[in-house]
Symmetry: C2
Subunit: 933 residues, 2 copies
């Protein structure tokens, strides 16, 4: 499967078949931000925090590879490689190209970063992988294309990641971390190498991924770390000096090699770790000697052969073995490395950063991907200056790193990620302004209200007349509620045709006095403009009723409240005539401080470990206020000075929403992990469902793992799973789905119950390296960071529930873009698509699983030519998911499962290159050539 140009790989002499072949894989693991920022890591700045300088690693490795053609190295994180590459001289670049062509330097994984798997959204992961892989492709051609996915550090592994890797064309996948019980079980069963079937909807082998678990995380065997950061004894082979130790080293090595039992006569050893190889000479000089002295014993009959290798060379040997492999269809969550050490806290850690990342993704997809295409070059240079999307793309790409959106970085690094995203927004907003100017032929100044989440917008708060432009990023019409801070008490809103729009002014909870609410619509991938004018003698704001409401309802839903407590009490779908009991409240787990007889593990950025399985209730009752108008019905609930919620039903919408505001308060100096819990009458039988990276949904059962008999030791933390976009509980009659606005952790501990962790404030570090408690405060939030979030609820019949939740989740991910203009804006602007580049990558997705909707889980055929109203598609070539290879050139290794549980899934042929059929959960990537109609 290797390109003929990659000479060394192609001609790689097969290791001897009658020996135990030990594949030494020199590698470095370079976090794209963690204890230091990505640029601090690149330069080797702030080495007082952690000694690490990637520029020197790459300098050194190239030098050392040149010294001995046997040596190999793999490199993983393109965010760093890109920084290095662009500073190299042409001759150094040529040298590196040759090393890559010869297979001496090999890229594995190759995305911009090694993404987190528990808290990322698939769209952002595909973007960051594509950015890295296409850079490698453009720089090195086919020899630069990684054959192996390599997630050695992420703390748990998502099935959707495996599915994506399969569709990106990887031949195999290696990782380092899995549950300690799972590892033991697999060691005993010889199932450390397996075939992961990562989709229940895509026909095998589309989402099949050969998966290998590395023997020692991603570290070298004990005693064999020869990095400058390690203290293991070097090989001292000068017989004239003291402490000659060759015999000792060789015999220790043979002992370790022989103890690693795998199914073939090949084993792998990762020779490297975090930011290692800054001085690669130390590693290679000793590895050269190790290979020399161990293999020298073959002359005396030793049957152990050591070689420099790479994961793809190792994988090739496993493939040659022509075995069948254990099949796995679930995922690798949650991850525990000991019986009280569940890495389920980071599912929620830094909820504000997680939300900022998610809306930045929306912003990127909408503004930088769609409007840049629609407006073409005019978007980048226009009346508002130089706009570009690269800053945002790179900021989003690094934010996918497994210590970025995961919330497991130091505070100053979290700040750096946020600042990068903010820079990205700034550059994107120029691009959007230019695009809208070009598309609308109006150079009116566009104003962005980035703080609407806290109801702050200087323009709307002060202007007597302004316009709101709504861009709809979806391929279907949507309506959307707009909430704007205002200081007037009455406004008139009209749409682009001048028709009046129903609106409501009510008392604001922010800095402005009031809040103006109305619903807007925009056509698919189009925009519309609304005018807002202050009325001098309008009606007074909607009245607030300070009493417990009995119920709020619209044409679709009815929500009742307990008159005594002010808490939710039931939810009914008026169309389907469903009704369930539903109590909702807020609680906090007291985070363990590690002072505990069972284990000294505290809760921290990674680890969730409550001191007790019973959370503290914040309040038995809520103070409430009610607003009921034609636009929206809402109940505002106050549970404590630091927890409040607004339950809303907008007119005409079939989902209810709860907006929470949680302050990570610490008045009693206890670590708090705040949850909301929905307790229902649904009979869940200890089962609930969570999505994987925003796509396929997996079944979760309490105190249960599908592939081994679990010994549960943390009844709460051990039952938490990542929720990236939704979770649901169901029985035969009812399905209650919660769609989240960001990644969170959650579980179903009790029958009929679903809990979601919303915020964490912790006072101790959890001893996994970050060396800071997750204690988010600032001068703005001295009492603890306030986090605001939204959960959307739908109650449906299970066989059709996905028809609702798939769409609302999509709307949550791709939000309409709002821009504002002061005064009048001619709403009758013409949409005109400008010159469009020829090489646009277009991803078409089927967003339903094969089993989840009788209606929607059918194949869909799309006419590419009719995809864009304003552009004609004149050329089309299908690519792999990461757009770094032509689909028809994909040649993946074939792997056979031990027991084939292949579901009967139909396959379809495209009618023509222009008429493509999408199966459930399929994503197809096309390179389009378009011209204006």
């Amino acid at each position: 499967p290797f390109s003929p140009k990659c000479a060394l790989k192609e001609e790689n002499v097969a290791p001897p078949t009658n020996m135990l072949n030990v594949h030494l894989v020199p590698h470095t693991h370079d976090d794209v931000g963690w204890l230091k920022t990505v640029d601090q890591y690149y330069y080797g700045d702030r080495n007082d925090i952690q000694h690490a300088g990637v520029q020197y690693i790459l300098d050194s490795v190239v030098d050392q590879l040149l010294k001995n053609p046997d040596r190999r190295f793999i490199y993983v994180e393109t965010a760093f490689f890109y920084r290095w590459w662009k500073r190299q001289s042409p001759s150094m670049q040529q040298t590196v190209r040759q090393l890559v062509d010869e297979g001496r330097l090999e890229f594995v994984n190759g995305g911009w970063c090694m993404s987190d798997e528990a808290t990322t959204h698939y769209s952002a992961v595909i973007d960051q992988m594509t950015m890295g892989l296409r850079f490698l492709n453009e720089t090195f051609g086919a020899c630069g294309r990684p054959r192996v996915a390599w997630h050695i550090d992420p703390f748990g592994h998502a099935r959707e990641h495996a599915s994506m890797f399969a569709q990106m064309g990887y031949d195999g996948f290696f990782f380092g971390r899995l549950d300690y019980q799972d590892r033991t079980h697999r060691m005993v069963q010889l199932e450390q190498e397996l075939l992961w079937r990562a989709s229940d909807s895509l026909p095998p082998p589309t989402a099949d991924l050969f998966t290998g678990i590395l023997p020692n995380g991603y570290n070298p065997p004990e005693g064999f770390c020869w990095d400058q950061s390690c203290d293991d004894p070097p090989i001292r082979d000068d017989p004239d000096l003291e402490d000659y130790n060759v015999n000792d080293v060789v015999s220790r090595f043979l002992g370790i090699a022989k103890a690693q039992v795998r199914r073939t006569n090949h084993i792998i050893m990762t020779m490297g770790s975090d930011f290692q190889y800054e001085n690669a000479n130390l590693w290679y000089k000793n590895l050269d000697k190790l290979i020399l002295y161990v293999n020298a014993l073959q002359a005396n009959g030793s049957k152990v052969n050591v070689l420099y290798s790479t994961p793809s060379c190792y994988l090739q040997e496993l493939h040659r073995a022509n075995l069948t492999w254990a099949l796995k269809t679930d995922d690798f969550f949650p991850y525990a490395d000991s019986d009280h050490d569940f890495w389920t806290g980071y599912f929620t850690s830094r909820p504000a950063l997680k939300r900022y990342e998610r809306i930045s993704n929306s912003n990127l997809q909408v503004t930088c991907n769609q409007l840049e295409v629609l407006a073409g070059p005019a978007s980048r240079t226009g009346p508002f200056g130089e706009g570009e999307s690269q800053t945002m793309k790179k900021a989003m790409a690094v934010a996918q790193h497994h210590d970025a959106v995961s919330g497991t970085e130091k505070q100053h690094v979290a700040n750096d990620y946020a600042r990068r995203l903010a820079n990205g927004w700034q550059r994107c907003q120029v691009l959007v302004s230019n695009s809208l100017a070009a598309l609308s032929a109006s150079s009116a100044k566009r104003i962005y209200c980035d703080n609407l989440n806290i109801s702050v917008c200087p323009l709307t708060e002060s202007s007597r007349k302004f316009a709101v432009t709504v861009y709809n990023p979806l391929a279907r019409p949507v309506s959307w509620a707009v909430r704007l801070p205002v200081n007037g008490s009455a406004y008139a809103v009209s749409d682009a045709k001048g028709a009046a729009v129903d609106c409501q002014v009510s008392r604001n909870r922010g800095f402005a006095v009031n809040e103006l609410v109305f619903q807007v619509q925009a056509p698919p991938l189009g925009y519309s403009t609304y005018s807002v004018s202050l009325l001098q003698n309008g009606p007074p704001p909607a009245s607030m009723k300070p009493r417990h409401p009995a119920a709020i309802q619209n044409e679709y839903l009815r929500v009742t409240f307990d008159p005594d407590t002010g808490l939710l009490s039931s939810l009914a779908n008026l169309e389907t005539k469903q009704s369930i009991k539903l109590t909702q409240n807020f609680y906090w787990y007291n985070a363990s401080d590690g002072n505990n007889t069972e284990s000294n593990q505290p809760s921290g950025a990674y680890i969730f470990r409550p001191n007790s399985s019973t959370p503290f209730i914040i309040s038995q009752t809520a103070k409430t206020e009610t607003v009921q108008t034609s636009v929206v019905q809402e109940v505002r609930q106050w549970f404590s000075p630091w927890v409040s919620q607004v339950v809303r039903l907008y007119a005409g919408r079939g989902v209810g929403g709860g907006n929470q505001s949680i302050c990570g308060i610490c008045s009693t100096c206890l670590g708090k992990e705040v949850i909301t819990r929905l307790d229902t009458s649904i009979q869940t039988a200890e089962v609930f469902y969570t999505d994987s990276n925003g796509r396929e949904v997996l079944r979760r059962k309490k105190d249960f793992r599908p592939t081994w008999t679990l010994k549960q030791s943390e009844p709460i933390a051990g039952n938490y799973y990542p929720i990236n976009s939704r979770a649901f509980i169901k029985d035969d009659a009812d399905q209650l789905t919660v769609v989240t606005d960001r990644s969170q952790g959650g579980g179903s501990i009790h029958n009929g119950s679903l809990e979601i962790m919303l915020h964490r404030r912790l006072l101790y570090d959890d001893v996994r390296g970050v060396a800071e408690p997750l204690n988010e405060t600032s001068h703005i939030f001295p009492d603890g960071l306030v986090v605001r979030g939204r959960l959307l609820l739908s109650l449906e019949r299970p066989p059709v529930a996905a028809d609702t939740h798939r769409l609302i989740a999509q709307e949550m991910v791709l939000q309409p873009l709002l821009t504002f203009t002061d005064g009048d804006l001619n709403p009758n602007t013409r949409l005109e698509v400008r010159g469009v580049g020829v090489g646009n990558v277009c991803l078409l997705e089927h967003q339903f699983q094969s089993w989840e909707s009788k209606v929607s889980s059918q194949p869909v055929t799309v006419s590419l030519q009719k995809l864009f109203s304003t552009m004609e598609v004149v050329g089309v070539s299908e690519m792999n998911l990461s757009a770094n290879q032509w689909k028809d050139e994909m040649r993946r290794f074939a792997w056979a499962p031990q027991t084939d549980e292949t579901p009967v899934l139909k396959t379809f042929q495209d009618i023509s290159p222009w008429e493509v059929t999408l199966r459930p959960m399929e994503i197809r990537t096309f390179l389009l050539r378009v011209v204006l109609r």
Copy 2:
């Protein structure tokens, strides 16, 4: 002065004259043992103690020098370079030769190690320098010859070292440490560069050495350490990344450069430190950028020019300046880096190691240098196996390191030095056995009693008849007392001619019951044999009289004791009719534990800081026993269970000896610094004298430094000086000289008083890096290491005192070699000199200063042809002191002093190449070609 082959040096474009030229000197300081052993440092073993691996430093530096021809590096310690060089491939050796030839890699200093200056003996220093410099010469030719001496780390600087460096042909000398007051004074006076006239006996400029004091020890300026071991910010010059800092770095650098004011428009910056450059890329990559960006400002009028340089290039520019320089004639002891931080403890630290080093030197000079020459190849391969001297030579060379014999290494490293010396002894003893077998034509088995210092010798303790062979390493006849442990009570001793020798048996204080004492003689560079037989019915052992003696005396000296206290009370020279009051006792200073209002500096391996200026007396009185026989008269004194002494007068010898046994006891858990103090009636006027490295003597005055006005803050420690071989006090009538058996520290705090520190046991580290208290215990000495030592006293008239102390000091340094054979040994063996190598280096020394003896301070003419009775010298070529350059090819820079205080010293021409004249204190080195007569 550079060889034409050293192309880059020769053609070195002179830096601009109208600018401030900043010479950046990339360097590494590689201790030949300190916290780790020399081989641990070489390999990078035990990096848990200290991260340091010299093999990698040299690998890395060579790689990086090849990347940019402007880059320079200096290397210093040949002990390490040698280890590395012999493991390199021929092509790598060729590469390095070219770097050396081009001046890109330059050796400075170049001895086997960077020797300590306070505790070394000149003979061992010359040996270690010669070993390193000759290796460089043989490997690299003229371009490998260092032009600069470089003692950046030793803690104080000896005048004799400067004298040796001058005679070794160095053009200049740089160091890093000097007294903090001295540094300030010199900064103000612009005397950080000076001309050191290092001998009062040799005619200038023979011992003149240009000396430069480095601006920041040997470290880079603050903020500019780019080693992997440092955390200073790298130069971040990619404008696309965060934290671009070029402007900041450049302006900080210019500030530092301009603040360093020197007399020329050249300044030096040492860019390196301990074990740095293991990953030289970090340093050079940032230095390249620094040079680029600082010099780029010249286009805008900047007058600062930065360049890669070496100490010799910098020195060359200073020489070109053609200035006159401040003259200095004293030395740089003691060294203090703050007002309570005097580095005068290490003068005595580890007295047992200091003694072992000193007798190993004797062993090396005697056995390995003399007997190997006399016996030729037969010494190396003979009836007793393979003998060689290299092990001992290398062990002695590394023992000269400034953290070796200084006693400032960790305990395990001290053990390693001792073990290396012991290995050297073992190999030497084979060589001696072979030599004596060859010379004497007898293959009788030679037995060595290495533990005679503690009166242990299995042979003499058990044998009824044995022979003792005494080899005299001096060029004059000597007599010597032999003390042997025996279990019989009466013995007969006879010389080689069978004549009876007077002997004494007295009660032993060791494991054996008795001790046999007799005097032996041996001809110059020859040997004689004595037979010892047990007598069955001999006289009883000499009786011990357990009462205070009034006096002991021989034909030369009379020593009286106080009848009440048992202490010494007077000393008289019976020949000169001199008599002085002399009280001697033992005291201990309580070492500061750092718990002190003035300073938190404790006493430690380096630092001497007594808690009080008044030492504790160990005992007001001594218990005594007296033995008075015809062989020896002795008074045995017990001061406490842990301090005892024997005062001895041998028949016929004009010096008295005191043998002390001190246990570094710590029963009260206070750090103890044990001294002996001689209080006399001599009127010293606060002046005393100490030798420098065993050669010239310097005058010391209490609370006084010759070159600046001292502000004394440590009345004891600040008045301590190193005593390498002798110290004396005198007035017009009397000179009392104490000759020591090892290096020690001492001072004269009171009029007529001389104190010598004998032992130290400390409970705290002194925070200078060694990170261990100097707390010598072992399973053999659980209560603290017992140290035995000897002081020899002579009382003479000052104008002729040197005639005595020079000779006895020489006998102390070069001790007769004793070998034993069981049973009979035919004493009538013929001395036959075997084949002798053609290229033997011979050092001829004049051991008197020009002023110290009317008789002996005269020039001496030596006939090389008559030097050896058994060999004819047929060729002679004079060399520099380190034997790495022909004397007539020495071309040293000429430097002019500001005020020439040149003493009137006659110069002499040799009568012929065979008849060479030695002036006072001159050492001349000849390469001889000899044949057997």
